[in-house]
């Protein structure tokens, strides 16, 4: 092998230098280009919003939802390190409707927060059972009075996804078309689920149902379901008092199916069966599912619901 001759080396250096001068893009990226290439950092307060953001942003964003598995994100309180993560995000996607009770108690960059349900805040469902109080000059107020599981009304989920698309487009106007295209695919899937449930319910619209937890308000309103709720946990067998309350409730609301948030304890299923009440799992999927993703969990939920309306 011959060593490269010096004039040859200097010629290559000159060519490279000229390329650097006339084709700056080939040698270095300008600051703006670097910024544009950086991924958006998005933090969300629940899993459905993370899923929507990931679907819409695709590879253009890094979406984080740091709540530990098994925790209800609505009542979770992040530690200082996690709050710092939220503070450093380009976008913080909130569910609104008083979801994630920790939000008002921490310091987050005000105008990087996006309330995905702000567009339909006039349609939030107030929980009548919540006791309000008043004192001093502030007047009457309630500490917890808004139903927050908005995303299981799939038409509202689509609106939340639209807000995410809009927020992303404001951050990266150059990618608006990509975001819009991804959103339209997601919207189609959500509205297909919406249509499917409507069709399913239309077969037996007056069927009474009982829910293990009061989290199906938006779902019931959208699809015209007659749901009464108890306060049971799927992994705990209810006490005798709770069974008695259910029996009493079923007298006025003769439900044949109970909707559970998660897989119920076998003993609870058996005892319900003996009372003529079947068990269905409809997971609101507030936290990251163990298997699958939001859409697969929701499709399974819809499948699980079918026996109740046949």
């Amino acid at each position: 092998m011959h060593a490269l001759k010096l004039p040859m080396v200097s010629r290559i250096v000159w060519i490279l230098l000229l390329m650097c001068i006339f084709l700056p893009g080939t040698c270095s990226l300008s600051f703006a280009e670097k910024k544009a290439e950086e991924k958006l950092i998005i933090y969300t307060v629940n899993y459905p919003l993370k899923y929507f953001a990931e679907r819409i942003a695709g590879r253009e964003a890094q979406v984080e939802f740091p709540a530990p598995p098994g925790m209800d994100p609505a009542f979770w309180m992040p530690d200082a390190g996690t709050i710092a993560g939220y503070q450093g995000a380009d976008l913080i996607l909130l569910n609104g409707a008083a979801y994630a009770k920790w939000i008002p108690r921490v310091t987050l960059p005000q105008f990087r927060q996006v309330n995905t349900s702000a567009g339909f805040k006039d349609h939030y469902i107030k929980i009548d059972e919540a006791v309000t109080h008043s004192h001093g000059l502030g007047g009457e107020h309630s500490h917890s009075g808004t139903a927050f599981t908005t995303w299981i009304d799939f038409s509202l989920a689509a609106r939340q996804a639209f807000t995410i698309m809009d927020a992303l487009s404001r951050k990266r106007p150059d990618l608006r078309d990509t975001f819009l295209g991804n959103y339209q695919v997601l919207e189609k899937e959500l509205l297909a689920l919406d249509e499917e449930i409507k069709k399913m319910v239309s077969k037996n619209p007056d069927r009474p149902l009982v829910a293990s937890h009061p989290v199906y308000q938006y779902f019931a309103r959208r699809y015209g379901l007659h749901i009464e709720s108890v306060m049971w946990e799927p992994d705990e067998v209810p006490t005798e008092k709770q069974w008695a309350e259910l029996r009493y409730g079923l007298e006025g609301h003769p439900a044949k199916w109970m909707i559970w948030e998660g897989e119920p304890a076998a003993a609870s299923v058996e005892r319900l069966k003996s009372m003529g009440v079947g068990s269905i799992v409809f997971d609101p999927c507030g936290n990251t599912p163990e298997n699958g993703d939001f859409m697969s969990v929701m499709r399974k939920n819809v499948e699980n619901l079918k026996p109740a309306f046949q």
């Binding site: 200082a80 709050i83 710092a84 503070q87 009770k101 008002p104 108690r105 921490v106 310091t107 987050l108 960059p109 005000q110 105008f111 990087r112 009548d128 006791v131 309000t132 109080h133 008043s134 004192h135 001093g136 502030g138 007047g139 009457e140 107020h141 500490h143 404001r170």
Partner: protein, 393 residues
Amino acid sequence: MIDSLYIAWKYLSFNKVKTATLIGCILLIAFLPIALELLLNESEEQLLSRAVSTPLVVGAKGSSLDLVMNTLYYGEEVPELITMEAAQQVAMSGLALPIPMYVRFRARGHPIVGTTLDYLDFRGLQVSKGQSLALLGDCIVGAAAAEALQLKPGDSLVSSPENLFDLAGVYPLKMKVVGILGKSHTSDDLAVFVDLKTAWIIQGLLHGHEDLSKAKDPQVILKQEEKNIVGSAKVYEYTEITEDNIESFHFHGDPGIYPITAVMVVPRDDKSETILRGRYLSKEESHQIVKPEEVIDTLLQNIFRIKNVLDAVISVVGLATVLALLLVFALSLRLRQREMQTIFRLGCRRMTIARLVAAEILIIVLFSAILCMGLVLVVNHYASDLVRMLFIR
């Protein structure tokens, strides 16, 4: 010449009072205009640099100077309050980033600045010790304030009551110092930064108390209705936010209409700035939008008009002092007539006598100049702190 200087020195050190008086007079005449110039230049620089770096400020219609001084330099004069709607309005326009500011309360003499994290990013303020704001009740303290109040992360700082005689008012809030900011050589060094929500807690708009539905003391409940519990004045509101009680803190009313003193507006570009400014021109508009640079420029023009008057006064006083000094020297020469005669009889020329007097004047002027230089150096060193203490605070 050395002999003349020696004799002059001996004479001056013998007449200490006279010498000190003469040095003092010359020193004052030289030092005052230089110090004034230095301080004015520094204040101009400080006022302008902060004003130039703040694109626009939205506030209630009224004194634009009060608005800018309160928003930029945390002046004690609080402008008329506006609501968070003003910030929302800017955000909704999509033309600029709004940074709400609530500069109303104080803690041990230092301004409490209620704002959002965007402010720290905008000003490039870095936490040098501890961490940034995270929870309600947290505060981060400017470098100079931390030094003055001897605060470090983990300490507490109590807000001062607005009015000493407001016995029925809101309790002071015990804030947790979570971080100390690095020196920025601006008004931020003297401030205490809190989240807007913490500022509203200080005002009592957001508060925490025991759950009235679980209250053990029947006296805390005034009236219990089906879905409403009316608390009595005995309801104890927490004065410190801890892990145990943070969940009880809640808003009363719509936070969207909570008060702030101003909105700092950072437009996306020049076009956005022009459009935004145009939106506040209507007579019906209850808010004003000001460019701090223009407001401070007007203020500085006034200051320089005052400076011209001061310069004239100093010039007249200076002239009078110089004349007085000449008189002192002339009288001194007359008093020293016999001394001069003796020197003359000893065989010295008239020129020697003139050299002696010149040496005395030279020594006096030299001493005055050295002292003046020393004082000027001191003022120059502390100019930025002095300006903040005397003019901007």
